[in-house]
């Protein structure tokens, strides 16, 4: 019963995500402000746009997988049950293939990883540019890299299934394409570094989290090519190495994106700044904590520490790794405790934070042209007209060191 409710809620979630994706895509295509060409969109919007496309194409497949699973559990079909038991009860189900479930699930599951990480990539690109006071390095390359990641993200679901007994020839193809994703990811990483290079960096809390995101993304991503090779994956797949890789690159990195976005847009939402010393404390504890949790996991995994087991104290070689586990646990508790600083800061700043001006970060995008917090229809009845790209910082000859997207050009541009 519980599992059925869970499947039904996932199915409803699929429909909801699908409708959300429709809305995002249509809005991005149809409702951009005058002058906001696709190549003038902030990278945050680009990332959300590609995320919505991934959601549109992936959630439909998860929906049908969920329906089949529900049928298997309640109507006695056997799509996924080879022989034997459902929910611990012996049944007459036979002839199904768990591999089919894996294919259907991971066809959704891998794009879903990018659904989680792409928005963080987009908004961190934006933040790095804002707080380095420099245009983003290679805007077009960033856009095409996002599109390439989205495109390749659909072709690599099989790298979750090297252990499942699928055809080794497919595994080979999946392996090649998975390593191919390294290319657009590296383009993005080098562009992030290029944006930071010789910038007038302001280390405000959103920027710290954005840099933290880049750091985690690089460190988590480096272990990707190892896991992308079936030969290595067969050894590493059931170990903590996978957990370390996944959580650094997708788990914590996305969460850093969420924190960065919260610190960045909080003034616009509530009209008050968040407390900066508290935010910095939160950042350093979380950043060091994340590495303290997940770096030892690489070692633990390579030494053969298995995942998916609640305890391994009876096994000799795992027993010797026990101090690592203890260290990881302590680091995890400390990191969780640090999150209460964030929660406190969030609610305290809503009431007592310093009043925010309209454009506290001196950013150029449209949301900073309106009042803080925004009036009822965001722009108070005036729809903005866009004249510039989103990352016009340190513009030579401009009166300020940045040019808003809505600033009309004073001189003819090249």
């Amino acid at each position: 019963m519980g599992a059925d409710l869970w499947i039904i809620s996932i199915a409803i979630f699929c429909l909801g995500a699908l409708m959300g994706a429709l809305n995002f895509i249509t809005t991005t295509l149809d409702m951009r402000a005058k002058g906001m060409t696709l190549m003038r969109m902030p990278l945050t919007c680009w990332a959300w746009f590609v995320t919505a496309i991934l959601g549109l194409l992936a959630f439909g497949v998860l929906l049908s997988a969920g329906i089949l699973l529900l049928m298997d559990r309640n109507l006695g079909t056997s799509f996924f049950v080879p022989l034997g038991t459902v929910n611990g009860v012996l049944t007459g189900h036979k002839g199904g293939s768990p591999l089919l479930w894996q294919h259907l699930f991971w066809f959704f599951g891998h794009p879903e990883v990018y659904i989680a990480i792409l928005p963080a990539m987009g908004l961190c690109s934006q933040l790095l540019s804002v707080f380095s006071r420099k245009p983003i390095f290679g805007y077009k390359a960033m856009v095409y890299a996002i599109l390439a990641i989205g495109f390749l993200g659909f072709m690599v679901w099989g790298h979750h299934m090297f252990m499942s007994g699928m055809s080794p020839y497919s595994a080979f193809a999946f392996s090649i394409m998975t390593m191919g994703i390294g290319v657009p990811s590296a383009i993005k990483t080098f562009n992030w570094l290029g944006t930071l290079w010789r910038g007038k960096i302001r280390f405000s809390s959103p920027m710290l989290f954005a840099i933290g995101f880049v750091s985690l993304f690089v460190v988590g991503g480096i272990s990707g090519p190892f896991l992308a090779q079936p030969v290595l994956d067969i050894y590493l797949h059931e170990t903590y190495f996978v957990i370390a890789h996944f959580h650094l690159i997708m788990g914590v990195a996305s969460i850093f994106g969420i924190f960065a976005a919260t610190y960045y847009w909080f003034p616009k939402m509530f009209g008050r700044m968040m407390n900066e010393p508290l935010a910095k404390t939160h950042f350093w504890l979380t950043f060091i904590g994340a590495y303290a949790i997940f770096m030892p996991m690489h070692y633990y995994g390579m030494a053969g520490g298995l995942r998916r087991y609640s305890q391994g104290t009876e096994v000799g070689w795992i027993n010797q790794l026990w101090p690592i586990q203890r260290f990881i646990s302590i680091a995890a508790f400390v990191t969780i405790a640090a999150q209460f600083i964030f929660v406190f800061n969030l609610f305290w700043s809503m009431k007592k934070g310093k009043k925010a001006v309209d454009n506290p970060w001196e950013a150029t995008t449209l949301e900073w042209t309106t009042a803080t917090p925004p009036p009822h229809d965001n722009f108070g009845g005036l729809t903005p007209v866009v004249y510039n790209g989103p990352y016009e910082y340190s513009v030579p000859g401009a009166p300020r060191d940045y040019v808003m997207q809505t600033d009309a050009p004073v001189t003819a541009r090249h």
Binding site: I53, L57, V61, P82, L83, S97, P98, L99, L100, H103, F107, F154, M155, G158, G165, M166, S167, Y169, S170, A173, F174
Partner: protein
């Protein structure tokens, strides 16, 4: 109404000029005839693979007729045609390439 909306309205009106009764009837008859051919072929005792290929080919023709004429994709701008169709067809091709080798392995090697 501003220029953009006028432009879209003109395009939609241009599309709607293609609502010709004779054409719809023609497509409908073609669809019915193809269905008839499919049912006829079913009773011709063919090799299953050959029959599957023919039936799927005919179904694709039917699908193209429905999408092109009834759903008016034929009269949309080429960007819309290509983006919508290539996304769906691409995903389906991917599934085809990677799903069925495993299904074959199950029956030939006995792995589940």
């Amino acid at each position: 109404m501003d220029a953009t909306q006028i432009a879209i309205a003109e395009r939609v009106a241009e599309e709607q000029r293609h609502h010709k009764k004779a054409q719809f009837l023609w497509v409908w008859v073609a669809l019915l005839v193809i269905t008839g051919i499919e049912v006829y072929l079913t009773y011709q005792n063919m090799e299953p693979i050959k029959m599957l290929t023919i039936l799927m080919g005919l179904s694709l023709i039917k699908a193209a007729l429905i999408i092109g004429f009834f759903m008016h994709l034929r009269y949309e701008i080429s960007r819309m045609k290509w983006i919508t169709m290539s996304a769906v067809v691409g995903c389906l091709i991917l599934m085809t390439i990677f799903f069925f080798p495993d299904a074959h392995r199950i029956i030939t090697l006995g792995v589940k």
